[in-house]
């Protein structure tokens, strides 16, 4: 399990990427998918996931759609054009970040 702080900066990136990849997803599906795909290493708590989803919606990066499932309503999320653009940007940013971190954290030998 990773620390809250570490996850906080990457949560939007994860959600945007998954929505781009999967088309449309609902909250619980995202949480379960992340858990399974990370082989249990990553656990999105509801307290982190839903505020993020609602924020993305308010910012116009995702659009929602409600579907009646059994005796309850399910809210699906999908990317808007703005969201697709943001997903690409976030991925690039994160790739650069990890590369930079690796540069810093790799032991440097004085020759």
């Amino acid at each position: 399990m990773f620390s809250k702080e570490l996850l906080k900066g990457t949560l939007k990136t994860i959600v945007l990427h998954l929505l781009e990849e999967q088309g449309k997803m609902y909250g619980y599906e995202i949480a379960r998918y992340v858990r399974e795909r990370s082989e249990g290493q990553l656990e999105l708590t509801e307290g982190a996931l839903y505020p993020t989803l609602h924020k993305l919606e308010a910012d116009g990066l995702v659009a929602t759609e409600k579907v009646q499932v059994g005796h309850r309503t399910r809210k699906y999320y999908r990317l808007t054009a703005l969201g697709t653009e943001a997903a690409g940007r976030k991925r690039e940013e994160f790739a650069l970040f990890t590369a930079t971190m690796r540069m810093i954290l790799t032991p440097k030998w004085n020759t």
Binding site: G47, Y50, P51, K55, G70, H71, R72
Partner: protein, 237 residues
């Protein structure tokens, strides 16, 4: 696959209400989320009541409340908080503008301090002092008038000074508002007291020659924001 019955969903919705989840955009979504969790637990072999217990225990006592607060707060973070800040700044600006406008709306003392026509023997500004024979700034207007001519307040206000001063003689100062004060000096008699409120046109004293002066006259000053200005600029027709 297990799908909860209407009754079971209703039960979980009730528990949500009890937990104080009343933010509707989240409530509906959270209900689905909890139902999914319960269903997953039931797939693993738990009964509905065991699964429900398990799910609500996982959130803790106020975990849901916290989730609701964070969801609302997150939305407010930028858009609403900035809007509120902008509104606050706008409000403050509006208040200060209104106050400045109100100040400018303060009525200048437009009445003349003496009834009838009186010769101005010394106007406002630089002048040769008749006794000191030196160039000096004259901070008021001198009206020539017979001894005992009634002197009137030029605007509503409160008497803040009524006393004898060596050069001014008997003098009165009236504060009209935050902007204007008027001063009447060289009086033979003061007919008001400090603290008294006074109406425009009300008699406050009599013309005299009590200070350093050449003959009976009224020396009249108008102070705007604490600075002497030409009284003749304010007189109405």
């Amino acid at each position: 696959m297990i799908a909860l019955s209407e009754h079971q969903v209703y039960y979980i919705a009730n528990r949500l209400d009890q937990a104080g989840i009343d933010y509707l955009p989240l409530r509906e979504e959270l209900l689905d989320h909890l139902c999914c969790m319960v269903e997953d637990h039931m797939v693993d072999g738990l009964s509905f009541s065991q699964a429900t217990h398990e799910v609500f225990a996982a959130f803790g006592k106020d975990g849901m409340q916290k989730l609701q607060r964070q969801t609302i707060l997150q939305l407010q973070n930028k858009s609403q908080l900035m809007k509120r800040l902008a509104l606050l700044v706008l409000g403050l600006l509006l208040i200060s503008f209104t106050m400045m406008w109100a100040r400018q709306q303060d009525d200048p003392p437009s009445r003349r301090p003496l009834n009838g026509e009186h010769v101005v023997t010394s106007a406002f500004g630089q002048r040769m002092h008749p006794i000191l024979k030196k160039h000096k700034m004259h901070f008021g207007v001198d009206f020539k008038a017979p001894l005992g001519t009634p002197v009137m307040a030029t605007s509503d206000g409160e008497i803040v000074k009524a006393e004898f001063r060596e050069k001014y003689g008997n003098m009165i100062v009236i504060r009209h508002d935050d902007t204007f004060e008027t001063l009447y000096s060289q009086l033979s008699e003061i007919q008001v007291k400090v603290g008294q409120t006074i109406k425009k046109g009300e008699q406050i004293g009599l013309v005299g020659s009590s200070g350093m002066s050449t003959g009976p006259h009224l020396h009249y000053e108008v102070h705007k924001d604490g600075k002497a200005v030409n009284p003749e600029g304010f007189f109405g027709p």
